[in-house]
């Protein structure tokens, strides 16, 4: 990865993930064979200060698991996570709790991520309460400030989540995530459940907050258009691996992995018109393989329009050129 702007040459990046793997043991009945689901398989990435790294990929590719493991909300089976150089995996519970104030998460579903029985003011204040930050008076004024910051009115603090629209609830979730003044926010499909008009409001808000507060985002999305609009770097995941990673301009103008190219070809676009005879050809066939039975060779070989015999037997290693990482025997370009 090129050194992200804003980082001096010597300072470690905000977040550095090395060779992270996560697997889940699966019970197969009483006497069945023990199986392991490999959700994340040895991924590495960095997130610079004030930068956004996008994680894209199809459902089940391991985006959420990777991000949650990177902030120790899921226990990795292997790998290292450094937050400003501090090894998160080496910390005991207490020390990890202290690090929590630098980390926050926004989830996809603004309906289920807010406790319906709490007033939204209390929901936003909760991280401050839990971590014992500030006096009660200071917390209250911080919550007011946060409401304004995300485009809500402080007089709405006494209402309950159901009294808000989906977009407003996502604003509440953002205010809550900002409460402890974190350095990194994991945004897990933060706009997928929203209508496009509301989605634009929230994406603009997230970008403005980044500019004003110097936030870093680990931004999960399956929508490449959204990713192009908010991310500085993009990592494409397939079956638990990063198959391509590059700076945004590079990834969108010169995608090298056949899977990334298929994703871009499959993405809907206003310019592809039926009237002009456009017919979206299914770029890849079939469904992704199961993470319970990872194929040998390249994980994408079964669906790849470019696969050669070698792809089915030999797993491609990631190779990097000018900060553009690709995991493919026959990259394009």
């Amino acid at each position: 990865m090129p050194a992200p702007a804003g980082d001096s040459a010597s300072a470690p990046p905000l977040l550095e993930v090395r060779n992270l793997s996560v697997s889940f043991p699966m019970s197969r009945g009483l006497f069945g064979p023990k199986r392991v689901l490999q959700a994340v398989r040895g991924i590495s990435f960095t997130v610079g200060r004030g930068r956004t790294l996008g994680l894209v990929g199809e459902s089940g590719s391991g985006k959420t698991t990777a991000a949650m493991a990177a902030i120790r909300l899921v226990t990795p089976s292997d790998g290292q996570v450094l937050l400003e150089g501090r090894d998160l995996m080496a910390l005991d519970e207490r020390a990890m709790r202290a690090e929590r104030r630098h980390l926050a998460v926004i989830f996809q579903d603004p309906y289920s991520s807010l406790n319906p029985r709490n007033r939204v003011g209390a929901i936003v204040r909760e991280p401050l309460d839990l971590m014992g930050i500030g006096s009660p008076g200071e917390r209250e004024s911080r919550v007011r400030e946060l409401f304004r910051l995300v485009g809500l009115r402080p007089d709405q603090m006494a209402l309950f989540p159901h009294q808000f629209s989906g977009g407003q609830r996502q604003r509440i979730a953002i205010a809550r995530a900002l409460a402890t003044n974190p350095a990194l926010i994991v945004c897990d499909e933060p706009v997928s459940a929203l209508d496009v008009a509301i989605q634009a409001q929230i994406l603009n808000l997230l970008r403005r907050l980044q500019d004003d507060l110097g936030l870093s985002y680990l931004f999960i999305s399956h929508d490449l258009g959204v990713v192009q609009h908010v991310c500085h770097e993009v990592a494409v995941m397939y079956l638990g691996q990063v198959v391509e990673m590059a700076e945004r301009r590079r990834l969108f103008s010169a995608p090298a992995h056949p899977y990334t190219r298929a994703l871009l070809e499959s993405a809907p676009s206003l310019d592809r018109r039926k009237s002009a005879g456009y017919r979206r050809k299914a770029a890849v066939k079939g469904d992704p393989p199961s993470p319970l039975a990872i194929p040998s060779g390249c994980a994408f070989a079964g669906r790849c329009p470019q696969a050669q015999p070698r792809c089915r037997t030999e797993e491609p290693e990631p190779t990097a050129r000018d900060g553009h990482l690709v995991r493919c025997h026959f990259p394009v370009g």
Binding site: D195, V196, H222, L224, Q228, F252, S269, L270, K274, R279
Partner: protein, 333 residues
């Protein structure tokens, strides 16, 4: 040519705890044989209710068809006996919904469900129905149809389940296929496969399609004509190219403007401009006033917009907006 489907001034009301609300307020749509009509608009604008009304499936109560007419090949469906509607559903009108899991019966094998749909409307033997079910699975591109015919829905991926739904929908060679967000729950690569399949079926069977979606990209590649809905009304209707290239209603313009499009021109930019926004949210039905339902969010709104609801005017490309009507009138004089 007389239209295949002619919906005029359709009005649907629901009894709610806020009193009677008007979910559809004078909706008119026309569909020629073989044509695809795209229906777009934000959540709650009445897309699904329109589809349900056409199929005679509005829950009554709390719903009520308060006016208008729905003609299929000239035959009035409003007030038609339930027996007749049941005959039309599945035979003349096929349906595909967003989440195939809820429309497929989890305890029956998919082949039996397809055969059942055939037996319901056609006078064939059980063996013949099963043979046709197998053919249909092949037609909709289910791999290993001989095996998959005996699978239960949960044993199939989301994409395959949607293919099974499509097989059922086309089992009796309908003249009209209503697809309500058929790919929203699917990954883009699978989405592309399903759209490809729908186009293919259309070419082969000449079936007309109503495609309900919130995705303008899907509209561009699938639709001949488009109806844009807002708060229970059609606010703009016309050929897909006219709507996408020269949207006349401020709402349509806003909708198109706020899409984070994947645009090659953007791939080169160092920093992307913020997305255009439509301020505010869709008003709840019980708070709709006298004027244009969009007036509160419309940056172009003038006095009359808040007082009088604009009618849908214009032939070919119709628009419900006072400003547009004024501009069109001054152009004519």
């Amino acid at each position: 040519m007389s239209p295949l489907l002619d919906v005029r001034d359709l009005r649907v009301e629901f009894a709610t705890r806020h009193g009677t609300v008007t979910a559809l307020d004078g909706v008119s749509l026309r569909l020629e044989p073989g044509e695809t009509l795209g229906v777009v608009g934000e959540s709650g604008c009445g897309k699904s209710i329109t589809a349900l009304a056409i199929m005679g499936l509005i829950p009554m109560p709390p719903g009520r068809i308060a006016g208008g007419s729905i003609r299929l090949d000239g035959e009035e469906l409003i007030g038609a006996p339930e027996r007749r509607l049941r005959q039309l559903r599945g035979r003349d009108i096929g349906m595909i919904f967003q989440e195939p899991m809820t429309s497929l019966n989890p305890v029956f094998r998919v082949g039996d469900q397809i055969a059942e749909a055939i037996l319901l409307h056609q006078d064939v033997s059980r063996d013949e129905a099963r043979r046709r079910a197998l053919d249909l699975l092949r037609t909709v591109g289910v791999p290993d149809p001989g095996q998959r015919i005996d699978a239960y829905p949960h044993e199939l991926s989301g994409g395959l389940r949607q293919r099974v739904m499509i097989a059922i929908a086309i089992s009796c060679q309908p003249r009209l296929l209503i697809a309500d967000e058929p790919t929203t729950a699917l990954d883009v690569t699978v989405q592309a496969q399903i759209f490809d399949l729908i186009r293919d079926i259309q070419d082969r069977l000449g079936v007309a399609v109503i495609l309900i979606t919130h995705d303008m990209g899907a509209i561009a590649e699938m639709a001949d004509r488009v109806a844009v809905m807002y708060a229970g009304r059609v606010v703009e209707e016309g050929p897909a190219d006219a709507i996408l290239d020269s949207p006349a209603h401020p709402y349509t313009r806003g909708l198109i403007g706020c899409i984070p499009a994947i645009d090659p021109a953007l791939a080169a930019l160092d920093r992307l401009p913020p997305l255009a926004e439509i301020p505010g949210v869709v008003p709840p039905l019980h708070l709709l006033g006298q004027g244009c339902a969009f007036a509160d969010r419309c940056i172009e709104a003038v006095d009359i917009c808040r007082k009088v609801a604009p009618p849908l005017t214009g032939r070919g490309h119709a628009v419900a907006c006072h400003l547009h009507a004024a501009a069109a009138a001054s152009e004519e004089s």
